[in-house]
């Protein structure tokens, strides 16, 4: 049986649990895992104060319960797999460099912030700042993949340098803000001010969108490179229609206040 953490006591204030990551539990038994330190508000606590620990580490970690106030799960993850059954709090998979996190629920803000590798898949919705840079930092995700099957909030891919973020539903305002490179695919509706300050990189939407006046229309075409991305996302379980896969996209170059080498592709 994989190591399973089941929430038995709902915290009254957020619990910072960056210790919940497979590589930290390698070689531990359930007792040692339960003794692992977490930060409860501003007080040290043990993981076992909140979670029932069962099974043994085998590379896969299951976390079960309403984890909305559990932050930093999977932060700094390098390998292995985390399966989360329930909603989960902020900073999921922050700065992770490898492995996979699957969430059967919703995630709060800052999922995959500044990650450099690995994959996060969320069956539900995500909060703001998916794959973004932290405040005060200029570079967001440097690699890896984040696939959100539902909707996402504002500033998806903010400061992103590399990697792939896909949103099956809609995204909020400032999608791709200050992007340096990488790809953000939104199958639904974009919010306002998409790609503001972007230097390079790609933002895709399958719905019409109003762009900033600093974006210039280039042409309508059927980008082969986008088919590779969409085909890959389809293989990862995101519902990509043939109309989206084979469709014609309007290419807008921007942001003109920066290098103008970024692009927004909108399905016709």
């Amino acid at each position: 049986m994989s190591l399973t953490l089941t929430l038995h006591t709902q915290p009254d204030v957020p619990l910072e649990a960056e210790t919940i990551v497979p590589q930290r539990f390698d070689g531990m038994d359930a007792k040692k895992v339960a003794a692992a330190k977490v930060l409860y508000g501003n007080q040290p606590a043990a993981l076992g104060d909140f979670f029932r620990v069962e099974g043994r580490p085998d590379g896969e970690l299951r976390v079960v319960g309403n984890l909305s106030w559990i932050k930093m799960i999977g932060a700094g993850m390098t390998h292995g797999r985390i399966v989360i059954e329930g909603n989960v709090g902020m900073h999921l998979g922050a700065a992770m460099s490898g492995g996979e996190i699957l969430v059967d629920g919703n995630v709060a803000d800052w999922v995959g912030e500044e990650m450099s590798g690995g994959r996060i898949v969320v069956k539900g919705n995500a909060g703001h700042l998916v794959g973004s840079a932290l405040r005060g930092e200029s570079v967001g995700a440097r690699g890896g993949e984040i696939i959100i099957h539902g909707n996402a909030g504002n500033e998806v891919g903010g400061g992103m340098r590399r990697g792939l973020i896909a949103v099956g539903g809609n995204s909020g305002d400032f999608t791709g803000v200050s992007m340096l490179a990488g790809t953000v695919v939104v199958l639904g509706q974009l919010g306002i001010r998409t790609g503001a300050g972007m230097k390079r990189g790609t933002v895709v939407s399958c719905k019409p969108a109003e762009l900033l006046p600093t974006f210039s229309y280039a042409c309508s075409y059927r980008p082969v490179a986008l088919r590779l991305v969409l085909g890959y996302l389809r293989s990862r379980g995101l519902a990509i229609s043939d109309a989206q896969f084979f469709g014609r996209y309007r290419r807008w170059s921007g942001d003109g206040v920066e290098t103008g080498r970024g692009e927004v592709l909108l399905l016709e």
Partner: protein, 294 residues
């Protein structure tokens, strides 16, 4: 040894270690994918004069390609991995990138890779961009019909070149028919190509020449017109035509299987003998005994 009354000579084909790769070319339709593949594999019959050997392996349906468009698989072989890389850059750059609507992908998983798209990208003059996911990187080079997409790296693996069959016939028509039948049968084997024109070569060669500057010269042992004057002749007076089929493959088993199918298909009336070319076993790393294919 006999097949359908045709004598199979008790000899072997001498094949050589090479490096090989597989390239997938896609395009808006089959016509353009094949146009690019034909151009890329043109002038690639023999490493002796062309620096590589290449051919079309098979046509790929749109549903099997990463961009959902029809495609063609090409195999290319050279004497080293480095040589494969150089030839790919030349041939993809000049023959595929130039062809309308095409894209070009690595189709060989291997630990050993060579950089191709990572060099061709410079044609983009700074306007190129890349997409990277799932451990692969694809370059987007702006061109006049949109973008040329080419993968950063292509896999290279040890391969086998120079498998061969010699068809010794009474006359040209039956020998040509036998060669065509053999080619059709051999092309059903995955992982092989027949690099010569439509798979058949008439100017079989031997190593060396009486001229110092010529490294390969006509295989006088199998030239009917030289039967009376060449001491090396391997022909009897009933043989009026010899054609050869050369096979390159990604592994020796594929080459053997192609030879096996070709040997059976070529055994038709009018063929006196089926043989194979070798250098006494002194040059090649592989000996494929015809007897083992029966």
């Amino acid at each position: 040894m006999l097949i359908n009354g045709v004598t199979v000579v008790d000899t072997f084909a001498e094949a050589f270690a090479m490096s090989g790769t597989r390239v997938l070319i896609t395009a808006e339709n089959e016509k353009w994918a094949e146009a690019a593949a034909r151009t890329m594999t043109g002038f690639a019959t023999s490493v002796i004069g062309c620096k590589c050997e290449a051919g079309i392996e098979r046509v790929v349906a749109a549903g099997e390609t990463p961009d959902g468009r029809p495609g063609v698989m090409v195999l290319l072989f050279a004497t080293s991995a480095d040589g494969v890389g150089k030839r790919l850059v030349e041939r993809i750059g000049q023959c595929v990138m130039t062809c309308p609507t095409t894209a070009c992908f690595n189709a060989l998983q291997s630990e050993n890779t060579v950089v191709v798209g990572g060099l061709l990208r410079y044609f983009g003059d700074g306007f190129q961009a890349s997409k990277q996911f799932d451990g692969r990187r694809f370059w987007r080079v702006p061109v006049m019909d949109g973008e040329f997409v080419v993968e950063e790296r292509f896999g290279v693996q040890p391969a086998v070149g120079g498998g061969n069959l010699l068809l010794l016939g009474e006359d040209l028509p039956p020998t040509l028919s036998a060669a065509e039948a053999a080619v059709n049968a051999m092309r059903t084997v995955p992982g092989v190509i027949l690099p010569f024109p439509d798979g058949v070569v008439r100017s079989g060669s031997k190593v060396g020449s009486r001229y110092k500057s010529v490294i390969a010269s006509t295989n006088d042992a199998y030239c009917p017109t030289l039967r009376a004057v060449s001491k090396a002749t391997a022909l009897d007076q009933e043989t009026g035509c010899v054609l050869e089929i050369v096979i390159d493959g990604l592994d020796v088993d594929a080459v053997r299987e192609a030879m096996r199918r070709g040997l059976r298909a070529a055994a038709i009336p009018g063929i006196r003998q089926i043989s194979a070319g070798n250098y006494g076993g002194n040059l090649g790393q592989y000996k494929i005994e015809l007897r083992s294919l029966l």
